[in-house]
Symmetry: C2
Subunit: 250 residues, 2 copies
């Protein structure tokens, strides 16, 4: 399998790609590529190039411009609003939801998760998303936004499409909160677009006030079933359902 790296557009200089030090390290030390060995460079948006290392490690040569995303439409937005869990487990959320095709990640502070991540976290998460996109051969690297309060995130959002706030079992035993899969199978088929936004709470869940505010912004209350999932597992489960339900309709 040919390896992929993500580059910024400025790195393309005519028929060459100026590699950064970490990229050289990854290609030469980690992947053990040599002069002449090929890899794919992608810009994280729609463009990709087949390239080869040259005798100068920091300079790669473009062999061919590849452009499959000009032939197929980009994936519809799949947005994740997620309360930040403790420790480093948001790294895992970023990595696994990227594999599953998330397009935008909005880490938020909620009433039950007030932890302020250190300043370098956002850059770290973006790096993890780039690596995960490369590994899973995704051309689109998700955008990760700076953490804000949950309510502020809802206020600022101007997107449309289906919107769900996922709540724990204890809140969802009534028929008013059908499972996410029930919702998706019912709504996706008649929706104007396949755009989906999911809000996933912290350990302990969203507060009733947070659910009310989200409902006000047209987020339907839904559950991820009778299982009690950790904050790190719930986004993976929810995104797995969205991508599978979408593929049923394609």
């Amino acid at each position: 399998m040919i390896q992929r790296i993500t580059i910024s557009p400025q790195q393309c200089q005519g028929t060459s790609i100026a590699l950064t030090q970490p990229q050289v390290h990854y290609l030469v030390r980690v992947l053990r590529l040599k002069g002449g060995d090929r890899f794919i460079a992608q810009d994280g948006n729609t463009q990709q190039w087949l390239a080869a290392l040259t005798s100068q490690p920091e300079l790669a040569e473009i062999i061919e411009t590849l452009a499959p995303l000009l032939l197929c439409s980009p994936a519809p937005p799949l947005r994740l609003i997620a309360a930040m869990p403790k420790g480093n487990s948001f790294d895992q959320v970023v990595r696994q939801t990227t594999e599953l095709g998330v397009t935008h990640i909005y880490p938020v502070f909620s009433a039950r998760s007030l932890l302020k991540p250190s300043d370098n976290k956002l850059a770290r998460w973006q790096k993890i998303a780039e690596e995960a996109a490369e590994q899973s051969e995704r051309l689109t690297v998700p955008s990760i936004f700076a953490p804000v309060r949950f309510q502020q995130c809802l206020e600022q959002a101007d997107w449309t499409g289906l919107r769900y706030i996922c709540v724990a079992r204890s809140h969802s035993s009534s028929a008013q909160n059908p499972d996410l899969l029930t919702h998706l199978l019912e709504h996706l088929i008649s929706a104007d677009s396949l755009s989906v936004t999911l809000a996933i709470g912290p350990e302990g869940g969203w507060t009733p006030e947070e659910i009310t505010v989200a409902n006000h912004y047209h987020y339907k209350t839904t559950s991820l079933g009778s299982a009690i999932l950790r904050a790190v597992t719930a986004p993976i489960t929810a995104l797995s359902l969205v991508t599978a339900a979408r593929e049923l309709l394609i």
Copy 2:
């Protein structure tokens, strides 16, 4: 929320529970429970008791025998056959699939994953499963079996129910291999039982020979969609789909 621990049946002595040192550590040091504080002890099968710490840390008093599993039927088997990935990432598979309700885990060696886990791994995975079952308030702790070769696992298995082998996108572009969700929605409704077995491959996937052997044992070939998932994410996605599809039918 009241905390749960898993005990072995021998620990129940009349109206008392003899706690092990790790359990005392967990209840007293980690959860900071004191004499009189309550918790639930479960035996990992059907039995559970409401108990309280006494003034002696290693002795808990049974307040009440709880028996909800006598009132509802146990969950139908949800078996995972999984090729073992490198490093410690199988820990994560065990933890997250337990949250999602797996009942049996069969780690296997496959043509593309020949790593032999160290001898203490099985005990470690069982411990992780117990902790995850407690956290997600599951009464049933999944059974984890000693690693065998994939083919040997298939030969030894005497279970019935729906069986799927999940393959990567490159093998599944044809209509012969519908997505797992398509399969589940079609098959679960007419199946004799809700028992499901999933075989998930290593990084790089199952070999064509392994797929042929599994087909021989009535495993239908299916895909987890167009995403390329790591070996640690694929089981979570597959189990999320099974549990959600089952709940649609309940």
